[in-house]
Symmetry: D2
Subunit: 405 residues, 4 copies
Amino acid sequence: MKEKDGLRLRTGEESPLCPGPVNIPEPVIRAMNRNNEDYRSPAVPALTKTLLEDVKKIFKTTSGTPFLIPTTGTGAWESALTNTLSPGDRIISFLIGQFSLLWIDQQQRLNFNVDVVESDWGQGANLDILAEKLASDNSHTIKAICIVHNETATGVTNNLATVRKLLDDYRHPALLLVDGVSSICALDFRMDEWGVDVALTGSQKALSLPTGMGIVCASPKALEASKTAKSVRVFFDWNDYLKFYKMGTYWPYTPSIQLLYGLRAALDLIFEEGLENVIRRHSRLGTATRLAVEAWGLKNCTQKEEWYSDTVTAVMVPGYVDSSEIVRRAWKRFNLSLGLGLNKVAGKVFRIGHLGNVNELQLLGCLSGVEMVLRDVGYPVKLGSGVAAAAAYLLNNTPLIPSRI
Amino acid sequence: MKEKDGLRLRTGEESPLCPGPVNIPEPVIRAMNRNNEDYRSPAVPALTKTLLEDVKKIFKTTSGTPFLIPTTGTGAWESALTNTLSPGDRIISFLIGQFSLLWIDQQQRLNFNVDVVESDWGQGANLDILAEKLASDNSHTIKAICIVHNETATGVTNNLATVRKLLDDYRHPALLLVDGVSSICALDFRMDEWGVDVALTGSQKALSLPTGMGIVCASPKALEASKTAKSVRVFFDWNDYLKFYKMGTYWPYTPSIQLLYGLRAALDLIFEEGLENVIRRHSRLGTATRLAVEAWGLKNCTQKEEWYSDTVTAVMVPGYVDSSEIVRRAWKRFNLSLGLGLNKVAGKVFRIGHLGNVNELQLLGCLSGVEMVLRDVGYPVKLGSGVAAAAAYLLNNTPLIPSRI
Amino acid sequence: MKEKDGLRLRTGEESPLCPGPVNIPEPVIRAMNRNNEDYRSPAVPALTKTLLEDVKKIFKTTSGTPFLIPTTGTGAWESALTNTLSPGDRIISFLIGQFSLLWIDQQQRLNFNVDVVESDWGQGANLDILAEKLASDNSHTIKAICIVHNETATGVTNNLATVRKLLDDYRHPALLLVDGVSSICALDFRMDEWGVDVALTGSQKALSLPTGMGIVCASPKALEASKTAKSVRVFFDWNDYLKFYKMGTYWPYTPSIQLLYGLRAALDLIFEEGLENVIRRHSRLGTATRLAVEAWGLKNCTQKEEWYSDTVTAVMVPGYVDSSEIVRRAWKRFNLSLGLGLNKVAGKVFRIGHLGNVNELQLLGCLSGVEMVLRDVGYPVKLGSGVAAAAAYLLNNTPLIPSRI
Amino acid sequence: MKEKDGLRLRTGEESPLCPGPVNIPEPVIRAMNRNNEDYRSPAVPALTKTLLEDVKKIFKTTSGTPFLIPTTGTGAWESALTNTLSPGDRIISFLIGQFSLLWIDQQQRLNFNVDVVESDWGQGANLDILAEKLASDNSHTIKAICIVHNETATGVTNNLATVRKLLDDYRHPALLLVDGVSSICALDFRMDEWGVDVALTGSQKALSLPTGMGIVCASPKALEASKTAKSVRVFFDWNDYLKFYKMGTYWPYTPSIQLLYGLRAALDLIFEEGLENVIRRHSRLGTATRLAVEAWGLKNCTQKEEWYSDTVTAVMVPGYVDSSEIVRRAWKRFNLSLGLGLNKVAGKVFRIGHLGNVNELQLLGCLSGVEMVLRDVGYPVKLGSGVAAAAAYLLNNTPLIPSRI
């Protein structure tokens, strides 16, 4: 069988260190390698039931209600907003990079009154300003705080615990809506403890599935809000799901059978590795990547350590280098997929994704690829330097594979 | 590898003659058996370009603009409506079964002024009333006609050519929005010739893919309408797609890589068989099914021959039989998935799907299964009678497999 | 992805009722959908260990030693013979059809002194002659009895219990070597109870795997014989396997990782259905097929009921029909793979395989296909007659699918 | 779907740099992801015909006759020997490592008169002694020269052109039988030019398929020899194949349908990359690996540059290190499969495989893994040193991926 598209021809595995869609584990590919099934037979609801129960664990919630929506992250955003808010509602939203920008664009187009708090790209959400706004909002005009947990464009992780603390300090009832697309299942995320009202992620990120499932989890307070929210919605309406949950058939419209079995396999893998071990692995790979960047003499786009992201690292290149050229050459020469710099940081940063189904040697191979490409575009990196720095850390911090002890 | 869910255990292939999701052909399963890819690399846009070009052929349009949306049929409906209409717009919509009912429900919740034209379930859209309404609408208050080409709940195919003729006769500028979910790629569908403004289908029907891609095709007039349509939309906004089409990167958000390759394989199979041959095969299987039903002494839910559907047959059962019991036993005993009777016809009909990737012997095996189940629930069918009637027709009307001549 | 070979193009599933290779169940295809693994890592021996233990169950042996050889049934034959016998050894072998003929050809080329007992094709092994030969062999010149349990070319099942009884009655020490290629895992087979010394099968038959694994099981007596057998052998030498069994690494040369995981999945499916239920299903499908043949007014090639095979039925056609033409048209027109008549019965019989991963509705669909083809070649069968006869039996004898009760 | 065997649980891709079985490319896995087919239908012979034609290209032969045997490399050896030689025949065979040792063991057990020419492990075949033996063999008692092209245990490549030259110089008619298991499709191999009479390889090596197909190619002279060779053989008998080749049905017994389609895909990939480019890639990766070994201050087991292997590198460890411990820890900690030292070099060397479907970044990642493990077992390697040396070479010698230029 010939691969039709010549562009695809390459030897060996692709090394996709772009920040998503990420590598799918073999057991998940296997689980999805199947025919359709009648979703109205008793088998699919039985499967769905276990998925809804188990998926709550990756949000660390017991009180939340999850929805597995046949959509992408963008649709999951829309689901979070339209089910909880009404047009004209004032919401605070933090602009810190391309993905928060896109969410804000959606919020505005959905006719919310968006109070944008902007930071330099490379900084986290400005929580001081949030504090001020909450302090002065005695009449509770602010209906929701919208924040990305991890901004994929700049590699910045926001501190959600502090957001919750501020809301609590000011006894403010605003909903807390969190985009966890590049965090949930990779970074420490605690829906219940942090009082997150809607959390969401996409299947193709840390869950390491194909694109196509938006996973949204709503707190009881969010569900309550959905009863009065006036935003127009049908496809994304939680209420349709809740009706079918009650009936035990679960699906208001046809789900992807393949993604359901894929999610089952993905969750099984995560639980077998242990969610805390998964998070530790991301921390290990994130640290190793940052050590490599430092060894190369390059700057992390993220301006302070407190915001360092363990799922994606945006690397700043010297002024005389076009970061897009790095991405292009990595792909053309070494079959390595890096992330482009987007919008404000286009040409200035390239991004290394280290989330989902990735391990130490894959990362080191890719770091070595980055070194070669950096040299290729004229940056005088010492070959092996970044790999050595990363390996020194990994050597001391990588545990034995538990199943092989 | 153990199949986890005991409910799934069965020997031999499932015989899914439910009207969808349908059996996926092996080459399509194969094409989708793959890892993720970086959708921002040059390879994915190159693939997308050919898909957008080729998918127009199944709509029989050269002037239409297709959108491959990561959603289901319900989302495709929403995309069709919100991109072309504004809240309060008067639309005419035909209620003839469960799926048209659900679409009308969506139309109402999206705040359109829905002028519902209802028929008995088992009848087609009442086009006489349409004619009257068009005749009296000199001021063109009607903004759109919404119609399902094939009502999957009752097995009724509407006559779209007549709808177009009426619009032309009355020189009425209303948009023609068509749900082709259980028709496109199986029944004769002519977007350009019939002046359809938005046509849509879902991947899991006649295209025989997994669920997850809503395929929407817009006429130039529909695109023009989208410029002024005031319905709120973001995820479903065509404009975001058009912006990325222009840039040549095609995707406003992450597509399912697997579904793109799957669609490529599905289209290749359809073009190799020949779209007209595919339509002829559906006609052949539809006729054979109806002959079997007749031989069993049962009634087709569809009341007139002009509405007979070649993709699904709803079979009426005698009053003393509960059709749900037929569906249940077929699944529990013979691994046969029939379609339930829905809503008004619950308990009264069961449905045989014969669309997508299905051939003569699969149909005959399932008809034989239906005969056994009918006997099992107490209906005195003569075993072999329906199969014989269907086989007599198929024997005379099934051509040699062209590739094997 | 285009299917390259035009000959393959067809819609719907192939209906392979040829007697092998048979349909692979989806969970097995899934389990085999994997990359290679280092077979010297600890994981592969751990897997192998469970396979060797579990595979004994399908032979119904506790004392046997199984070998999973990367070869076909022909290689498995060679393994059975060369490990237990020396050139010149007298063996009794029954010629009752094409496959026993091929085995005898191998025996002769391996330089054994083959005492051939021939029957008409359509009859079972002549055990009266065996009795005579055993009776007169006081000096025990007969070293082995070689017999196929089920002759796939004629659909004849031999009575192994009687063979054992004769050996016991005459207190004859000859080894009993059994080809169980089209019987083991489908027909009742009892290695220990019947004192079978070497039993063998191939992966692509009742186990419903791809071709490539010859499964051979040796009794303690056979192992003992292998110590002195002088036939030259290296690749097929059990001793190499036994050496590695002792070391716990199991493999003298590289196994197919995919087939190991496939066998695991195949065994799991069989054990979940229950081996006795699997055997009952074959009996049910075999009976139904014979009832159809009778209803068509055609003769079973098998001359007596005691030899009827529940895995394959060879159907005799009237003199004016060429059975090859039936096979050809079934494939060309209905995507149905029947078995050709071989050698002496070429042109005179066609074969319906009903072994492995096949269920009631698949069989009925194919029987209906056979009816159409019979009509097509001029035999005046009443359409639906065979299907009706088979269905009447199946309706009364097919239990509910246990996992769905 | 839970992965049953806990030993398999790991995150990210396995990094199998053991010398085989190697990583299967995704398009090949895809091509093999299929049901069985009736191998007696016209489709399978049509496919086989193209395979037999195309597989000759990887041997660089136009006059050879290939056999695709359902077996492993060990079986391919047996096929080469038994089809061309008679018991008692004198053959010269070179013992230079574990795999040549195993072949010699087979030759002896098959009753040939093996004239073993032994070298130190780490040296190539001693061709001076061959010259002497040929010089003194005026009566042509030597019937065949048996030689491994590439000894996988020590990473030694023999010079076949010289062997041919010697045979020609002495006008000696001995057959030249070559084990190309770890060379063909990776190293420069020229069957016709070098007058090789039987060349063989296994599917799981440079072809990057699963195990299960032994590919044997016979020169006209070898075919001629097979007519009089008296070694007993049935399963491996070329003559059975040749009979079916003539009939155009090709298969004397059931082939693995999956491996046939897999071979088609594997050959397509090789031809698209270009066989010469494939060979160049192996040369590039081999050189890079040796540079890394040198940078680590370790010795190559291969004693002279002329024997350096581009498919596998055996690395000698200092006396105080147990190389098995390196292999164990690589697997247990970094999911990296290295090759063990075998037999005489057990504990003294570990092996890095760089053959088949592997690219630059995978190699570099694994080299980095080796560095960490070396440190872990107490060898004071400078982290990054080997990677840097390899990368410096690869940076200057890796061309753009042609399909992406």
